[in-house]
Subunit: 383 residues, 2 copies
């Protein structure tokens, strides 16, 4: 049986191969986007599972929108305005997929930064959207390029990760946030604000959500994967209630609803008195890991590379003075270090300077330092 | 923001309104497709949750295909041939949606029986497929009509529920199973065998899966919702490994993977020594409920209705001698009984004789008897 045309357009991805290789024994992986399993709130998870085991309400079919007590908690926490609503999804990945399925006709124009999150590239490819990209600067998307794009064609959605971007780690400045919001309002573009790393700030002050400057032109994706545990597979979409209602109809057709025991467990975790302390702990460890990584880079790779400092999240984007990142990734893997070449985060030909993505959340500080030493031996090799 | 064209084609469904009304206090609901919550394996669920709480492996991201120990168990239980594989999905609804997304181009022809499962109608509408229907006889689809359809155009998929069909409760005869399999092979049509009710046989002998007669022309959907608990949201797709591989790529884009703690919990339930006894218990109670329902119909409605006996599952299809099922459903709801008019299970104009769907799994025998008494007072009303 032949697959549909839109499935044939999905790139068979090198990142999947490298992620598979990265799980081999003895490989230090800076390749994936995994949170630190050793920092999961195991006591909270355990308590939550025990409580849910006694909750007889969560094993029957439920509402597509989500488990009512969790929805109520989330709406309060997100401080939603009255005309806005929440939908619980199977990870924020499903939220994005539902948005694309609900709102995009094939060939509709969408915009993203370049480079961008691979999972979003896949979603928009499957939806057969026309993908337009704007370059990223150290303070966010190039505003002039974004304005030109919005002027030149009717863009329906602008997908963005303004806090600790994947893959670059960049956080948008306040000014950029306000300017993007204004552009979305002026040109009637819906901002899809993907915020999975937002709670992982370990340096500097929180900045407002971009959507807070254009709430009626935005849908916000949040995830429990980086703050609680990804295995639960829970995220949410919030935005104008009318838009959420349409998403719910498509989610009902997709999977009826997300797991109820998991939703009840997440509520237990989020409302546990120890949850804030857990978050502080994760942030503090990620800070240490980031410092170990950046110090090792400065020690072993200084003349070969450059990078923009990050203030949170899980990734650092290492720009290379020379060399082919794909070759470097393959050679590094032979030395026992897995990394992702930057090219996989671009569509086709808009690749900028050569770079690699380094994840610093998954490995411990000493492993990160070792990894950079090994990587240095590869990058410094004469061509 | 306007929804996509294919979303606008989703019918806003009366069944959703009636299901909402059915949850009101004092309403006896024969409307939904809910299993009996009082028969859920609560001890097994509880034990499973406790065990999983101590399993540190299930909280990290996992493989899209599913939790390896569960996959292994399922493959063995399903007795899969070597060239076939399994994918764990968020309920079998997601399995069906993934098949449509992965294999259907818009306007591709698919076939279904009429009437048919509403969730499948929604999936194929969203995929913009051209839906062809064949009438259902008491032993399965009308074989002559199916052959004519397969001859007249290239049908890509034939979606079917051969065991205890939703909404009619019909089970295909052995001969029909063999004939359908032969037709699928001859005309190169892929059978989508949806088997959520298959383990709920309370009378007569099991018949082979239709796909067992055409394994390389089939994908099989199974669900844990009717045998364990629907809140877990777990099902599976099995079939030729190459086809499963493509489904996995689309699932990765949809939601990365289904909840891992739920998959580990399901494995605990399925391998618990008490699971077979639990299944026997469910079947025996559903048999009692079905008997209470059919006896009440014979007592209170005999001259007004007819129905084909069922040997398992959750539904009975009541054909009416006269009257408008939609009107009857509305009047019954006023009396405190929720039912679903048969018309919602058809596309557009191929509605056959007037009928209503009665669920007998959710309510206890005495409630079912009361419901039919109340329904009789509505159906017998002079027009």
């Amino acid at each position: 049986m032949h697959t549909a045309k839109h499935v044939q357009q999905l790139r068979s991805s090198y990142i999947r191969e490298i992620l598979k290789a990265a799980t081999a024994d003895g490989v230090i992986s800076l390749a994936g986007g995994l949170p630190a399993a050793d920092l999961f709130p195991h006591m909270l998870l355990q308590e939550a599972m025990l409580k849910v085991a006694n909750n007889r309400q969560v094993f029957q079919y439920g509402e597509t929108r989500g488990y009512a007590p969790l929805l109520e908690h989330l709406s309060k926490t997100f401080n939603l305005q009255e005309s806005h609503g929440t939908l619980v999804t199977t990870g924020s990945q499903q939220g994005l997929d539902l948005i694309a399925r609900t709102y995009l006709n094939s060939e509709d124009h969408i915009a993203m930064e370049a480079p961008s999150y691979l999972g979003a590239l896949q979603v928009f490819t499957l939806a057969q959207a026309t993908i337009n990209t704007v370059p990223q600067t150290p303070s966010g998307p190039d505003i002039k390029a974004l304005k030109q794009l919005f002027e030149s064609r009717q863009v329906k959605l602008f997908y963005a990760v303004p806090d600790f971007h994947n893959p670059t780690g960049i956080s948008w400045s306040l000014q950029t946030r306000q300017e993007v919001a204004r552009l979305c309002q002026t040109f009637n573009v819906t901002l899809i604000e993907d915020a999975p790393y937002r709670d992982l700030r370990f340096f500097g002050d929180d900045l407002p959500l971009v959507s807070s400057f254009c709430p009626d032109h935005s849908l916000v994706l949040r995830s429990s994967s980086k703050t609680s545990a990804p295995g639960l597979r829970l995220g949410s979409v919030t935005g104008p209630e009318e838009w959420i209602t349409h998403l719910i109809r498509v989610k009902q057709t997709s999977d009826l609803h997300s797991s109820l025991p998991m939703q009840a467990a997440l509520l237990e975790i989020l409302t546990h008195p120890g949850f804030e302390q857990h978050l502080c702990n994760v942030r503090s460890h990620y800070h240490q890991r980031y410092q170990a990584l950046s110090e090792a880079i400065n020690t072993h790779l200084q003349s070969e590379v450059s990078f923009t400092k990050v203030e949170g999240g899980m990734f650092l984007w290492l720009k290379l003075a020379k060399g082919d990142p794909m070759q470097i990734a393959k050679m590094a893997l032979k030395k026992g270090v897995a990394i992702v070449p930057g090219s996989v985060f671009y569509i086709e030909e808009d690749i900028q300077s050569p770079a690699i993505r380094l994840n610093f959340s998954y490995c411990k500080p000493e492993q990160l330092a070792t990894a950079i030493q090994l990587l240095a031996s590869v990058i410094a090799l004469p061509k």
